[in-house]
Symmetry: D2
Subunit: 367 residues, 4 copies
């Protein structure tokens, strides 16, 4: 939406810096009566948690979530903890905040990071670990996404995977969703995952980093979610994904490839289907036409740039405009795209939950 809030009816406001006291979010507008426990949310957070393999940052962030409000365990409802329809506040304390030595980035702008941009905007910035611009904020998104998933109607499945690392894309003929949990890259192609292991080790040892492409797919989304013009489902998805740290491009369905297509090859043909709805014979559209879901799988991909923090010295300037050469030491992800996978699912869930409620508001239960 704006500022640090996204969503319209299912609204998430996040707060917190990398090295502040705590980060978290307020989820407002959640329907009542939905079972939500800290353990449910923790399970999602644990997927995103760093330090789970040598391919993600070695910071230890236990990321323990605490629910501050908005749920209630009532003996009248069998003691299950349910949402009450009021704001759900989630808090994650920051624990591993080695704040000691930030003198270098305090006074210099790390290339590729938002350091200069924040200073240019605000004239002040919490430089510790990137402050508000740190990818740590995405923990709050994942927590909110865990709730969003439960808001969606049964039958909606949201899954994401890493489909390209550097120039190396997965082979879609080998795509296996079950494989995603079997390797540290969330990669659906076991062969390519094995290759990534060697590949990323090389990059890591070089003190370098590499970009990636993530694909997120929502199956079982009913047709009719979205709205014309600026309420388009794909416009909201584009904003949601682009708002993730380091994302530089977003596409729906065939995306940029559709620029090279002719009309005959792009428009998804239909045949009469069961239950009165058409069966689509292809899904170039990625499940969205005119900004509204068609009932096909919603397919969204986004590009993540390489981590800007690398060990090769880079030219930069100081706050007082002096030249400097900078090495960004510290514990960093060689491929920050990996940890964007659970974040992608969370953002898809939040966008869909919001549109699900918006659609129900305008059109009613039986759109």
């Amino acid at each position: 939406m704006s500022h640090n809030t996204f969503g319209h009816l299912f609204r998430v406001t996040t707060f917190g810096e990398s090295h502040g006291v705590a980060l978290g979010c307020v989820v407002d507008g959640c329907p009542p009566g939905i079972p939500v426990t800290a353990a449910d949310i923790q399970a999602e957070l644990d997927r995103r948690k760093p330090g789970q393999s040598r391919f993600t940052t070695q910071r230890r962030e236990p990321d323990q979530v605490r629910i501050l409000s908005g749920v209630f365990s009532d003996d009248r409802t069998g003691d299950r903890q349910l949402t009450t329809g009021t704001p759900i506040a989630l808090e994650i304390e920051n624990t591993d905040q080695r704040s000691k030595d930030y003198s270098e980035i305090r006074d210099s702008y790390r290339p590729g990071h938002a350091d200069y941009a924040y200073d240019a905007k605000y004239g002040i910035r919490d430089y510790r670990g990137g402050g508000r611009s740190s990818a740590r904020e995405t923990a709050a998104r994942v927590a909110a996404g865990a709730i969003a998933r439960r808001v969606l109607p049964e039958g909606v499945t949201i899954r994401a995977a890493l489909v390209q690392m550097g120039p190396h894309a997965v082979d879609r003929s080998r795509w296996d969703w079950d494989e995603v949990a079997n390797n540290p890259f969330f990669c659906p192609d076991a062969t390519m995952a094995a290759f990534y292991e060697t590949y990323l080790d090389g990059i890591r040892k070089d003190g370098s980093s590499i970009g990636a492409v993530i694909e997120v797919v929502a199956d079982g989304v009913p047709p009719g979610l979205g709205a014309p013009i600026y309420g388009k489902l794909d416009a909201d998805l584009a904003a949601a994904m682009m708002s993730i740290n380091a994302v530089k491009g977003v596409e729906i369905g065939d995306g940029f490839a559709s620029a090279a297509l002719r009309g005959e090859d792009n428009a998804d043909e239909m045949r009469s289907g069961n239950a009165g709805a058409p069966t689509f014979l292809a899904n170039h559209a990625g499940g969205v036409l005119g900004g509204i879901s068609t009932g096909q799988p919603i397919v969204c991909r986004f590009a993540v740039k390489p981590t800007s923090s690398i060990l090769t010295p880079r030219m930069s300037v100081t706050r007082d405009n002096r030249d400097v050469n900078l090495v960004t030491r510290g514990r960093h992800d060689p491929c920050v795209g990996i940890r964007a996978v659970p974040v992608a699912e969370a953002m898809m869930a939040c966008v869909l939950a919001d549109h699900y409620l918006r659609h129900r508001g305008q059109v009613g239960e039986r759109g």
Copy 2:
């Protein structure tokens, strides 16, 4: 933002269907004292107007804009017509509405169009010419964009160009902004423009259509526009561009190419510059870091799918779920991406104007 409104402080609400009485928009939150005349707006509309070459639809839509409110010509201010700070309503009457024969699309869903999605959502749809999902709505955006340009500080230049048609991209070494006005494709590469002429003629004669990629660049944007997380400048740009009809992908700076880059190659290095601000040695970031402008040119690209209305019969279904083969007759753009060029500029202008006011609100005149 949501529904049919975009922007937060500079807010544009559009209305109107392809074959309704009129379309237009309300621009709310515009600063006062800005010179705006119908002629200024008309000049922008005329760039988008169809029927200007054989490569765009032959519909005649004079697209005459009328200002209904929000401006005032005061002899105290030398009779110039200025914005008053109150809502500016713009109206474009629909004139060439050959509504006679829509029986075919009334009952059948055109593949690639939003026909089925609208019916699934609303249960009713103005099927004439695509109704609300028609690209005619973009006329209202161009009109709003003409005002947005005047809101931006002096020195901001917004220009767009078609940089790829089908698989054929321009040669960037031949890029010449002046060339854009010299060919019917808004193409900055004269050689490629000549090629497109032949190429698109072939596609047009086949009764087919083709996709395209548009690039929009804003020069002179001050650093500091944007906001963290969901108020990110690039997230809003992504939503704005994705909300244009037929757009399937958006990228900023290096975009999807950055997935293949290593950290050393991606982060834009800096040297001390004049006026206390760093000079960037490259612009892989496309002028946005952490969601905030850096002062570098803002570079955004998006992919437009081929027009779905083609003369080759396509398989489809009727409203009552019977199989049908469909040819979309009528006057259509063989490459709808061409007319998206002025729309891209308008959306960039609206997003920047909104963020300019938002930044001024939060941080003050001297950010």
Copy 3:
């Protein structure tokens, strides 16, 4: 909401000045399939129209509404004109714009009017007839309200009445809703209406004006509309009524009188009722508790100050800060509260329609 838009899901954006080309509104988020014709809207507008008695301004404003978009008449649905779920734009051309002589208010600030405030804010103002601050804008609200009424579930009745003019309040024991249509004051007390006739004639002949209190009641509103804290139904009603021209106070239920009550006298007791819901034994709360409707009638009252345009000379200053004595000539309402009655109904309808959709969004059809 903000700026010139109100509502969250049922959103109304109004535009237009007293003497501009046209005024109107865009109603966004309206559910599809609702029968709306220009004649329906016109009927509401005619109730507000000036010049219907000697007690309202003698300006002739035919206030003919035109629907520009968002409705569709489909032979598949029996040719009824229905909303499509897309933005409904309504336009009322300004016709009786005697713009000739505004030299006096062009340069001087009329006491009690917004002239100085607008200049202080914007530095420019359309001074003709009050510009944007003219009560003419309320025509757009009435038009939107006509649609909002149709959005509400069957059984909701919204009625307003003038309950006090100057110090003279109606006798509630004589309250008869049918009487409201029988006198030019929308007064539910026939005896008092007869008195007002003489009373207001005196004020009118003095070249003076007088304040009033309006009461608006919504019967049949289901329990559960509203939301905690800043989404409170009564907070939105307060904003909606206070946003009407010349309104200086709003109250719900017992309102200010509740300050003088003891706890025993204020809280509405309950007994078990039919259909599983409690029967309330009183309605001090005016149908809203904790910001949420209780199923009781929603009762809202507001105070309208006397028209500031009077024939007695008043002390004022010019734009360039010179003392001046001012008489506001022209055709004015001696009691502007009278014409606020249909506006009150419209605002109540818009607020309830918005909350009805919001509730349905969060909680579903069967809350």
Copy 4:
């Protein structure tokens, strides 16, 4: 705004129930570089804190605030703790939560409370201490208000006072702002404060409660804040005050009394003043005309109903619709209006801060 968020540029989202883990708020959009410490906020909270006299609830709520994010203490800025422009999260743990015995209100609806309304809306409710509808939520508002005050330009003073208890209004000729801190009622009239002491003791001993009227005044507000129509300053104030627990009416300036006035007596006359701005000779308008501040003191009053929790048995029903007689035991404020005084100041501060930023956004530093 909506849901649990208010404000547009200066946005406050509150969360938390009476007996949950914690309550608090996220303040988003705050300008950077503003000194804010927990001690500053605590000072405001302590004014609202219960248990400070025998006239407020004897619950012990230490209401210790913790700043979780959005501020930074930088040795480059002399170690002062400043806002960074990113979301400021404030948290107050709930400590005195005697949750043991809520069996009575778990199953029965307390008259005058939101119990039934919440159940009707959500079908579930945290019944402990009123849950989300508890006045405890106003602690979060006071915390946010402490920040809002610092956002406003120097010279703005916001003060509130209790001006009526039961039928007993203060004598305005004895008004002394300094007196407000000298009695437990925030009463500006020492004589009346002495009377209230006896009066409220009587009501308290009866196990009853009483209503009140609060007046909040903002001096030094620059002209030009506010916006036409639904962005009116007084409409936002009305919503803000009405959103406070137990408030049933709001008025600006003369408010309801203006209904009885004639035009000559109501419109504030002007004479040429210093600094090019008019001097107003009266302030019937309460500092707002056409929804925009005039530079005069902004005067707002609201009525607070008597606490609904009293010791006299009241008729009610249970959740399963059986008749019951109910006494609301516990520690309650005999006049909940008293503690609304600091809340009123906070809401005024939040509304003004938001409009100050909005105005600066649209019109610039030098409107």
